[in-house]
């Protein structure tokens, strides 16, 4: 069974997909197959590919998450936002900036959970903008609460 087939079989499961085991066993050898799955039209499979890519510490895995962040499907973009804490700091910050401006409030909400407690002044400033001006009240409140918990916006 090739890597793509292994991934398709595992991702088809309703629950108990063992992402950690897949990341350990396949590592960076899975990246090309994950790229293919993220580009496929099935958002269920694409969101899983993005999540697994976020667990793989290898060349090309960040690009898979970034491709997910550009998906036309919100559930794929939200999977990319969930992956932010597991990415290297620099690339994660760049991706977070994009996701903080996502048209979907749920994606922005997940990104702001990453941005508000971060030490990156730009991310914290973006989180402050959401707290002040986002069109969704629940998201303004969430961002404000997270910023308050983490010491407030930069001076």
């Amino acid at each position: 069974m090739d890597v793509l087939e292994v991934l398709r079989t595992e991702f088809a499961k309703d629950d108990e997909v063992d992402y950690a085991r897949l990341a350990d066993q396949l590592g960076s050898s899975a990246v090309r197959a994950l790229e293919e799955l993220v580009g496929a039209e099935d958002p269920r499979i694409a969101s899983q590919a993005v999540y697994l890519a976020g667990l793989i510490d290898g060349s090309g895995s960040f690009e898979v998450v970034a491709a997910g962040a550009a998906s036309r499907h919100a559930i794929v973009r939200v999977s990319a936002a969930f992956a932010l804490p597991r990415l290297p700091a620099g690339p994660a910050s760049k991706l977070a900036i994009r996701l903080l401006s996502d048209p979907d409030a749920g994606v922005r909400g997940r990104a702001v959970r990453f941005a508000a407690p971060s030490r990156d002044p730009l991310l914290v400033r973006k989180a402050q903008e959401i707290a002040e001006r986002d069109e969704e009240q629940w998201l303004r409140e969430l961002a404000a609460r997270l910023l308050d918990t983490n010491g407030g916006p930069p001076g």
């Binding site: 629950d15 269920r44 999540y51 969930f82 909400g109 629940w138 998201l139 969430l142």
Partner: protein
């Protein structure tokens, strides 16, 4: 779901339903998903909507997405500190199949995965080949012995 269970003489009753206004939990962190293990802070927040007067019911929450991504997950874990008793909960994502709800409730009722693609507890419900998935005799016995079956 009703059709699968009623084939074994088990009725499924919907006690009540409501639309929760919790957009912050519509994409839910369930990482790591375990049926009897700890729940996440976000699961605890969502499950706090349980009616404390109905401890013998299964609570089902429909969300847009779970992380890690999966069709659904089941939890029998008590949610401390406000819930002294177990509040069995099922979370169903928007990518779920026709059978995911029944499958996850099956986990709550004590059933495990099987390798037969004609049965409800096949681990890939999108690929169940029988129009009405089966419950085996031993699964029926387990369900009828569950504290959530009257």
């Amino acid at each position: 779901m009703r059709a699968v269970f009623s084939a074994k003489g088990i009725d499924v009753n919907l006690a009540s339903d409501q639309a929760l206004n919790r957009p912050d939990l519509d994409d839910l962190d369930v990482d790591p998903p375990t049926i009897d293990g700890p729940i996440t802070a976000e699961q605890a927040q969502l499950f706090s909507n349980h009616d404390p007067n109905t401890p013998d019911q299964i609570f089902v929450y429909f969300v847009r997405a779970c992380s890690p991504p999966q069709c659904g997950c089941a939890s029998r874990r008590p949610a401390p500190p406000q819930f002294p008793n177990a509040r069995p909960s099922v979370v169903i994502a928007s990518v779920a199949s026709l059978w995911t709800l029944a499958h996850e409730c099956g986990h709550i009722l004590g059933l495990s995965h099987v390798v037969d693609d004609k049965r409800l507890m096949f681990d890939t419900t999108w690929d169940i080949t029988k129009p009405l998935p089966d419950l085996a005799a031993d699964e029926e016995t387990k369900i009828k012995a569950s504290p959530f079956t009257k």
